[in-house]
Symmetry: C2
Subunit: 506 residues, 2 copies
């Protein structure tokens, strides 16, 4: 059995090497590649991804997994070996269930659609992508069809990003969240708007970068096993557990962009840096789901990075870095500015409180499209209606409406958005558990110390990689099932202190 397991690991390592190289091709494209490299680069990425997929779906892997099944069952569920076999089987079966010819068609269509979107969005030309999106919907439904036995057609698509979650679970969770969130949003947005002009001055890029690097190193991001570069869209990526990188976008006219973007990506990166090194090169060397991964970016960005205690330590340092801009701005005013709430159009720029409303709109529209209850041609109109109903504001164009997110234009429709809100909910639930275990954490944060929190997260979440599913992880850590209660409690406390309101019935 040891030999079979070793044979499996050898194959997985080769697949991981191909995927790592594909990730580096992508990182380089976003950071340093000269324009002349673009055409070949797309082809190179697609070749490497295809080779990795071919190797993952090699029937020899299925054979090894079959041979190892009895061995797996003889081991404790959460032993590294049983977990490796189990998680590999899940990935193998998902990949092997889809015919390569279909996958090639989908990937090619996605590449064409993405290219069309990059042109159509600035031109505000939804008509140019509508027929492509209609085909995307057809292909999304066909992809789901390769996984028979689902309850809702979106379930198999959700499984890709958030394994184990289903439409029925998410609808219940989101309804619960929405019911409690909307009154808070309404109460807060009924107040006079907060002044965030202190963030909208000129802040030189090198100082922004230097400050952000200082912050994330104090949070626990290890630069011996990572680095930061600039790119138009910030992201985190890794080429091995010893090389986990982030990118940042700097806006010299708005301090919030790089500052919170850097903490967000560092949250993702600290997760990967914390995974047990023995998992290197296997499917265990990742988080279990988009939602769990996002829980860490949102935790560090918001629960830590937009908290009062955090800025008690860092605000004098920020003022020292930008004395001209901030010496006349009080800590209170700064704290209010970074927590400004407003009815806005753009998800990625939305504040902590309204963010989930943006996500839920997309989730509902995905389901309606997949169910056949919404036609692609009606999408822009319905998008505007929903924004008006939920956020009290409607986009004046499709560029800042239905075309703002790349997601539907870069792969499938379905399963693309729920992870963001799951991340907020789980992040609060995990943070609540950490605070119960270590009530000293808030006082430490005021001293610029994050070691206790980081260690707790590493011990309870990061090190396990993909060993536990999202649901298992929540239950192991909190002793409860997934719940919006800690998140709502956190929001109520924070915003009642900030705006002097608590939720009131609409």
């Amino acid at each position: 059995m040891k030999a079979k397991l070793q044979a499996l690991k050898t194959r997985l390592l080769e697949i991981d090497d191909l995927n790592a190289a594909a990730s580096l091709l992508q990182w380089d494209q976003a950071t340093y590649m000269p324009p002349g490299g673009a055409v070949a680069r797309g082809r190179q990425q697609s070749t490497l991804s295809r080779l990795a997929h071919e190797k993952l779906t090699d029937p020899a892997i299925g054979g090894l997994l079959d041979d190892l099944q009895a061995y797996e069952e003889s081991l404790p569920y959460d032993s590294p070996e049983a977990s490796l076999i189990r998680v590999t089987r899940r990935k193998y079966e998902r990949a092997a269930q889809v015919p390569p010819s279909f996958m090639a068609e989908l990937n090619e269509h996605a590449a064409v659609t993405y290219q069309a979107w990059t042109r159509a969005r600035p031109a505000d030309d939804f008509a140019a992508v509508q027929p492509l999106l209609e085909k995307t919907l057809v292909l999304s439904r066909r992809l789901a069809g390769f996984f028979p036995g689902y309850e809702h057609i979106a379930d198999p698509l959700i499984d890709y990003a958030d394994y184990g979650m289903t439409v029925s679970m998410l609808r219940a969770l989101f309804a619960d969240l929405r019911e409690q969130l909307v009154p808070i949003v309404q109460a807060v947005t009924a107040q006079p708007p907060t002044d965030d002009s202190c963030l909208r001055q000129h802040f030189a890029a090198p100082q922004q970068i230097a400050f952000g690097l200082d912050v994330i190193q104090r949070l626990g991001y290890d630069l011996d096993r990572g680095r930061q570069d600039q790119s138009p869209h910030p992201f985190s990526t890794h080429f091995s557990l010893g090389d986990v990188r982030i990118t940042t976008r700097v806006n010299e006219g708005y301090l919030g962009s790089a500052l919170f973007g850097t903490m967000h990506e560092a949250g993702h990166a600290m997760y990967d840096q914390g995974i047990c090194p023995d998992f290197e090169g296997t499917p265990l060397a990742d988080g279990p789901s988009a939602g769990v991964h996002e829980s860490q970016s949102r935790l560090w960005e918001n629960l830590v990075g937009r908290s009062r205690g955090f800025w008690r330590f860092f605000y004098p340092r920020l003022q020292a870095a930008f004395p001209e801009q901030l010496s006349g701005v009080s800590e209170d005013a700064f704290y209010a500015a970074i927590n400004q709430v407003e009815r806005s159009l753009i998800r990625v720029a939305a504040d902590e409180l309204t963010y989930n409303l943006h996500v839920m709109i997309r989730f509902d529209l995905e389901l309606a499209l997949l169910e056949g209850n919404l036609a692609v041609r009606d999408l822009p109109g319905v998008w505007r209606e929903r924004y008006l109903a939920d956020l009290g504001i409607a986009p004046p164009n499709d560029r800042d409406g239905v075309m703002q997110d790349m997601h539907w234009y870069s792969w499938v429709i379905g399963g693309m958005f729920q992870g963001y809100t799951l991340g907020n909910v789980m992040g609060a639930q995990f943070f609540d558990a950490a605070l119960r275990a270590h009530p000293e954490i808030p006082a430490e944060m005021e001293q610029g110390e994050f070691g206790t929190l980081h260690r707790w997260l590493k011990d309870h979440i990061y090190q396990h990689g993909a060993k536990y599913t999202a649901t298992e992880l929540v239950e192991r850590i909190t002793g409860q099932s997934l719940s919006v209660e800690p998140y709502i409690r956190y929001l109520k406390e924070k915003y009642s202190a900030l705006y002097g309101v608590t939720s009131s019935p609409p």
Copy 2:
């Protein structure tokens, strides 16, 4: 036949994508990779190279080449299709002749030896690498043995880098060169040494980089299809014909390092940028040999970059970039400094005139080792003797002696060095042909214009990629066979003007 050719191209493109990704892994390792990425990175590079090699030696490629042979013979020799088939067959046969198990053993041994060398060299500990080098010699002889029918055991190894060259050709060429070179070296080094202290001041890195970038863009390096980064060892690499990069090492205490290193690597890069775009993704998208490629780095670095006319234009600019350091240094003094000749120990730091003596020492020792006329344990001593005899100076240690170059410690012994001197010889021969075709080139260089020269090189050399062998290229361009005459003529003219001497019998 069109379908067979397309099938071949599709396979070659996949191999090229793997090689491009492996090159990017290497570039990133040398430029930006954090230390934590090192272990996985070595494995990733080796996986991708192995997969590329497996795909190149796939018998299906042999089958396609067989099927295409009659078609190839029906086409003109230098048609793109016939050239593609011919050059691919050469690569395929060379790769397929070596058993994969041997190649794996060699590559693994090379990796171990290289690691040992990186530790042994700073420790000046030849004993630590001697047994490894002995095994390298055994493996080098075995590698040659897979190519029966050679005249000299080094010939198959030379073929890897300089296809078509043989020991007997090179011995004759090098003897000819040596006979004419040594008197010039003796005459020049008998003069009082040139003062190069003007180059040995503090020169801030950003200004060095900016000046170098300006120079190479004027030479014709295209930054839309390339970029420059810093690395400990400068190199040029490409990931496609639209993405050809260079790296530079900056020494703030010595101006010559980045300045000439940048021009050298830009010479390599302009070659690759000039290859016919239709060759993208095939074995034609490369120079025909190490020597021909080196001819272009040496041409731009030395024949152009160390010439009088070049500095007539650039020296005022260099003075403006470094007024404190250079305003009191005349153009004559600067020109003399960058052309200082001295008996030195280190090949990569050697001047234009003595450089080939360093190369020929290594070439002769490689042959003696392979022939069995020299034992590895005697190598350090023989190295010292040869340096004393040829350059009148012997290294005080092995660090700056037999361990200075990575070549023997990173792959095989044999075929590793001849390309450098071939590059000097061919570079002068090509430059001479360009000047005969365009006598206006020197006057243009004095105006900072390099378009005529660059276009001529592109038309006659770069665009052809690997279509012609080195020998064919020399004959097509110059109407003559490979000859040291233009090179010796160039050296005599240059150094007699500089030192007021011509070669005299020893």
